[in-house]
């Protein structure tokens, strides 16, 4: 018996598993979850906004109405009641869909994984926001695409830069973007850019993956239409993680029927189906249009107050040495350090110093695709209280001073 069990596993791991190391940042942030630390790191939605009483009620009501079916095996595509509600919401987005264009997934992370699985062969080109949502990068990279980052500008993905590359011969299978309050930059894709991107998809025959978890967290400006109202080549990924509670693990994807069919076949092998019970809870809560609308209205003021507290704290502690574009909603500030960094220095190296000072964040490099982001920090304002956010800004300033001290 030459190997211990752990050694044997190491020896037997697939090439993909052997190469995927646990993220150093993730490990650091996990171990940093200690008392007294103020987190500007995670994108954890505010627990005080979870409709706990309604979730408990909906659990009992689902069993009342459907009996054991609410906890039985279900269709891979999702519970019919939830797909109907999702179809109604899609119509409100200005892009009606049939139920067979909707697949329920175990959170939107699963949708991204399944999209990678059914669309990407090794070397296929996929265009992504640069910087981009880390979870999307993780999901897609497993399928070994050639990821092409298109810069995020103040009003979202730079569609002119994309068009230039398309004209030069770039031929992506899909373009992945967060249209509202993008993670990590907070930028919102303007109406003009939405129309432009939809037009490019039609002209160049690619799919748009519109991953839109934050739309309901808008606290400034007007709602903008989904690109699904502009092109049939749009896949909408929607979730209740930020509007109800992430622990339900309920999301859904809306797209062409042929795609949904392929995703469902992949999902069947991946986890058979999403929790029937949490689907029924979600269908009841989102399906109660009046309650849900009131609930959504209650979210924005909370997020605005937290965003304001962090912006005020940063302005007071940094002045012009840390800049950001104020977002219209969502969870994040994308801040750039305007002090001169010695060559080779990166905010990833600031993180352990910041943790020593009692504050965490996610360094820009975690989200970088093509352009390095050594001077950026993603700052989340949703986990800490307004008072803590002020204190966090002061701690961050002290940490940066200590870090850059000659």
């Amino acid at each position: 018996m030459p190997f211990s069990a752990d050694q044997l596993v190491e020896h037997l791991l697939s090439s993909g598993a052997r190469n995927s190391e646990s993220s150093a940042i993730r490990d650091l942030l996990r171990h940093a979850a200690r008392k007294g630390l103020i987190s500007l790191g995670g994108g954890i939605p505010a627990p005080e906004l979870f409709p706990i009483d309604r979730i408990i009620e909906a659990t009992a009501a689902a069993f009342d109405e459907f009996g054991a079916r609410a906890a039985q095996y279900g269709l891979t595509e999702g519970e019919p009641e939830l797909r109907e509600v999702a179809a109604r919401l899609a119509e409100e987005d200005g892009a009606p869909s049939l139920p067979d264009q909707i697949l329920v997934t175990t959170g939107s992370q699963q949708a991204l994984d399944l999209l990678g699985r059914v669309l990407v062969d090794r070397g296929d080109v996929v265009v992504v926001d640069d910087p981009a949502y880390l979870g999307a990068l993780q999901a897609l990279r497993k399928y070994e695409p050639e990821l092409v980052g298109i810069p995020m500008v103040e009003d979202g993905l730079d569609t002119e830069a994309l068009e230039t590359k398309l004209r030069a011969g770039l031929s992506p299978k899909a373009v992945y973007t967060n249209p509202n309050f993008q993670n990590p930059t907070g930028a919102t894709l303007s109406s003009d850019r939405r129309a432009h991107l939809a037009r490019l998809a039609d002209q160049h025959d690619f799919l748009i993956i519109e991953d839109d978890p934050y739309a309901a967290l808008r606290f400034s400006g007007e709602n903008l239409p989904s690109m699904a109202s502009m092109s049939e080549r749009v896949i909408r990924v929607r979730t209740v993680s930020k509007t109800l509670a992430p622990g339900l693990r309920v999301a859904w994807t809306i797209g062409p029927a042929r795609l949904i069919e392929a995703l469902a076949i992949a999902k069947q092998a991946a986890d058979l189906h999403t929790s029937t019970l949490t689907q029924h809870i979600t269908a009841r809560l989102v399906g109660d249009a009046e309650w849900f609308s009131n609930h959504l209205s209650s979210l924005a003021p909370w997020y605005r107050a937290h965003c304001d507290a962090l912006m005020t704290g940063l302005a007071a502690n940094f002045g012009e040495t840390l800049t950001f574009d104020p977002p219209d909603g969502g969870m994040f500030l994308w801040a750039e350090l305007r002090r001169e960094l010695p060559p080779g220095l990166d905010t990833a190296d600031l993180l352990p110093v910041a943790i020593e000072h009692g504050v965490s964040f996610v360094p820009g490099s975690a989200f970088a695709v093509t352009t390095p982001r050594p001077a950026h920090l993603r700052l989340s304002y949703v986990t800490a209280s307004p008072e803590q956010l002020s204190e966090a800004a002061a701690r961050l300033a002290a940490a940066i001073d200590a870090w850059l001290q000659p």
Copy 2:
């Protein structure tokens, strides 16, 4: 715009997605879910045994105890409370495990998918029961292993046949088996064969994937020990789908710490984590040792009565023309038609005739790995009532007569 959205998707699908067709049998059974049909098809656990009141209670109690944390984002590895309960059950199996040897998954289907992902590179040898659980074949085949089927005999996987192949140079990464009331054959791996297989794993350095969903559904004979008590090379896949309710989508995998770490990294990209809420519900129900033990005791008589009803019905309608080994538990009879089949005829062709006669089953070919099973039928006794099971046997006999009529 040369393509419609559906045509474009067809054009863009990955090679894997293009090649995986929806199973004809699955489609047939789905469309057969009409009024009056008696299903011997699915492995759907008895809904009247779901502890619905306890699930509702546990939902409220989880929020009482943990507040919003019961619906918040959680660790990819699983909620600590559930991993502790799982560790306690592992100890009762005679193979204690540390919490970091346990990963919670979205049903055991996800465990099989993740195991394929982290262990299998294209062409790697994986040994499986022949015939084998269809969901395991679906999950593993995505990673393009060379699947080698080892025949199921009356007392489980034929470990002598495996040893012969190992001595001849077969070098599998893993052996996948259901040790108790195997799906589809109902066979249980004997104590001697468990010890033999564990010894072979140690000698030949492979992992054993012990996928054991039915252990608690034993209605005859003695419980046999998990192979994890005999070798460190054993991965246990456990689920509450058959003991509490499948709609919770809660399972867990126990194995070497290095493997659990690799599975967790893969799971993070696949769905971040399993529903926090259904994990807390499960931890409360399974963690209430006295209640859970009483609940498990209530399952066996129900399953026994249903199995008896089907066996009696088959004996009355078929005599010696349809044979099976009576199982000691679980959900399935693996029946072999003893009438002469014309060349080329397969029970897959019987299925549409049976559906016309108002009864469904799953043809043997669905589970075949190496050996074809043209004369076999998997008959589930868990969806229909005892009265329906008698009637189903009569309908099946009539369907077979009609099918074989010259």
